[in-house]
């Protein structure tokens, strides 16, 4: 079995940004250590920085499908990451799938799923799967998960690639430059200057 495209949080943020604020979008974010709270926190932080919007997290572990629908419609414009879905059974996914229209909201919905959770979604929720389509992304560890050495190495790599120092980059952006390229945004985040992204 193949893999989904691996992307860092800021790249997923770029996708959400270009899709627009009220895009009714669905994305599955996958990974093997999604129970790691730090991974979730890092992800939502980077997502918020890239999209310049608040990101809510909803744990669906103990919620019925009906309760989840009600909760998501309370703040329908918010970008929301939905966790706690991996151990849900067929009847939950089926109920969620049948009530898919109730889940439709302008704000992006990101389903935080381990591989088995994705299998359950694809098996028991064909209507939701249709909405997600190919928007299933394997979360790549990004700067927030790098060690200091790894971070320094990566920054050096980017400096060599662009032929400028990190100080030059920050000066350019602060002077009015627009960080459109994903690698520039990654560089800024690695420098702790996600505010300029």
């Amino acid at each position: 079995m193949g893999e989904f495209k691996s992307q860092a949080a800021f790249e997923i943020g770029l996708r959400l940004d270009v899709r627009g604020d009220d895009s009714f979008t669905w994305i599955v974010v996958s990974g093997t250590d999604l129970k790691d709270d730090d991974a979730l926190e890092g992800f939502t932080m980077d997502l918020g920085l890239t999209t310049e919007r608040a990101v809510a997290v909803v744990n669906a572990e103990a919620l019925s499908a009906e309760e989840l629908v009600g909760l998501l419609q309370k703040a329908p414009e918010e970008i929301t990451v939905l966790t706690g879905l991996d151990d849900r059974d067929e009847s939950f996914w089926s109920a969620l799938d049948i009530n898919r229209s109730g889940l439709v909201r302008p704000g992006a919905l990101l389903l935080w799923l381990a591989p088995q959770g994705i299998n359950n979604l694809c098996s028991f929720a064909p209507n939701i799967r249709s909405f997600v389509g190919g928007s299933m992304i394997a979360l790549q560890p990004d700067g927030s998960a790098f060690s200091q050495t790894e971070r320094a190495d990566r920054i050096r790599e980017l400096e060599n690639h662009y032929g400028k120092t990190s100080s030059d980059l920050v000066r350019d952006i602060e002077g009015g430059g627009s960080p459109e390229e994903p690698q520039i945004i990654e560089w800024l985040i690695l420098l702790g200057r996600g505010d300029l992204a």
Binding site: M1, V18, R19, S23, C122, N127, G133, G134
Partner: protein, 420 residues
């Protein structure tokens, strides 16, 4: 002649790509798709006109629209509703029942309840009662109350004599001196998702509904109910458990019905459900060969994809979609998005192959051994036994696409990924 769109020059890159995303949004709600002018009304022939014409000419007719997820059923129902509204002598109510109540616990009476709420709301919004004679106004008011109680449930105090109480209870007397007490009795409504399925007296709601309908018919308006969302009740048994009594009741009321139904009603035992309807309209997968049929290419052109990619790219997307409308739009959107994230100005063939692979991967997930074997057999020799439950499931989940009653194929983005 395909519709052309303005070329977006002079816009910054982000704005340009955002415009592509806006037009190529596969999860935009149906009403917004139509309002934005993104729907091609003749994509499925003149299906919506056929639906509307029959509903208009035969006030008690019942038709279902059947097709896989993402085939365009909602769009056809909405276009039919729009066409009926424009006629001036019909009043179509579009009801996505899955928005109005928890569809997974749907029971008899829920469709009627929702229909009744829409009727009552229509009267309220147009302030119709003010125009009616007093006695009719009173009837309508009572009818509205009954509809709301039927739909939402009611609380009432019921006198329970002491003879029905345990010996230690003593709460006073009724007017005739019999001891007893008032007890709050909650009658659940048909649209209350907190309660399990309860058998209700559907006949009891017919008279109030008939009151509303009578007023409208005096104004030369025929009411039509357009129900969406029930196609997600994947099995024909579940669909029929919900629809049977309610649709019979609507026929008695001379209300025409258009409804989305699950594709399972076309096969096996599901055919018995189909036979209850005056007409079953099947939206099959469209022809994914752009050399033979330009319909899907026209969809892409209409939605502005021609600004983002060349014609060979669009051809590739059409083929990879398998003729599933939502998959086509989803692939085009994802291809544009990938180009954007990679810093490109236009979609490349590498972007397209990447998103086709991703879509295929999403179809591959969750497949069991038997299903994979069935897919291999279908891909290799075209055999597909519809009596096998796992094969019906492949159809419902769109891993297998139906082009006709005898033409079934593995979804083209999935086919290359099936392990040998």
């Amino acid at each position: 002649m395909p519709t052309t769109v303005e070329t977006n020059t002079g816009m910054d890159r982000r704005t340009r790509f955002r415009e592509y995303m806006r037009k190529l949004n596969p999860s935009l709600p149906g009403p917004m798709v139509i309002e934005a002018g993104l729907a091609l009304s003749e994509l499925h022939g003149s299906l919506y006109r056929t639906l509307a014409a029959r509903a208009d000419l035969e006030p008690d007719s019942q038709q279902i629209v059947v097709g896989g997820t993402g085939s365009g059923k909602t769009t056809e129902l909405l276009l039919a509703q729009q066409s009926l509204s424009e006629s001036g002598h019909t009043l179509p109510f579009y009801i996505d029942i899955s928005v109005e109540t928890d569809l997974s616990t749907l029971s008899s009476g829920a469709l009627l309840a929702s229909f009744g709420i829409h009727l009552a709301r229509h009267f309220r919004d147009l302030d119709i009662p003010k125009t009616l004679p007093k006695e009719v106004r009173v009837k309508i008011s009572k009818a509205a109350q009954k509809v709301v109680e039927f739909a939402r449930g009611k609380n009432e105090s019921i006198w329970v004599p002491d003879s029905d109480q345990p010996d230690e209870v003593d709460f006073g007397e009724d007017d005739e001196g019999e001891p007893g007490r008032f007890v709050l009795h909650q009658t659940p409504g048909k649209l209350s998702p907190r309660f399990p399925a309860i058998q209700r007296d559907i006949a009891g709601i017919l008279e109030p509904l008939a009151e509303f309908l009578s007023v409208l018919r005096q104004r030369q308006l025929d009411v039509i109910a357009v129900f969406d969302g029930m196609d997600r009740l994947l099995s024909p048994e579940k669909f029929w458990a919900v629809a049977d009594q309610d649709f019979r009741a609507l026929r008695r009321l001379n209300v025409a019905v258009l409804a989305a139904a699950p594709i399972s009603v076309l096969y096996g035992n599901g055919r018995m459900v189909s036979e209850h309807f005056d007409r079953v309209h099947h939206i099959a997968a469209l022809n994914p060969n752009p050399d033979e049929d330009t319909a899907l290419t026209e969809v892409l052109i209409h939605r502005g994809a021609v600004d983002a990619m060349d014609s060979s790219g669009m051809d590739r997307l059409v083929r990879a979609s398998g003729g599933v409308l939502r998959d086509l739009i989803s692939l085009a959107r994802d291809a544009c998005e990938t180009a954007y994230v990679e810093g490109l100005d236009r979609v490349t063939s590498a972007n397209i192959e990447s998103v086709v692979g991703q879509l295929g991967e999403s179809y591959l997930r969750g497949l069991g051994t038997k299903q994979l074997q069935s897919l291999r057999e279908l891909a290799e020799d075209g055999s597909f036994d519809l009596s096998q439950p796992q094969n019906l499931e492949l159809l419902f989940t769109r891993r297998v696409l139906e082009y006709s009653a005898t033409d079934f194929r593995v979804h083209p983005s999935l086919a290359p990924l099936i392990p040998e």
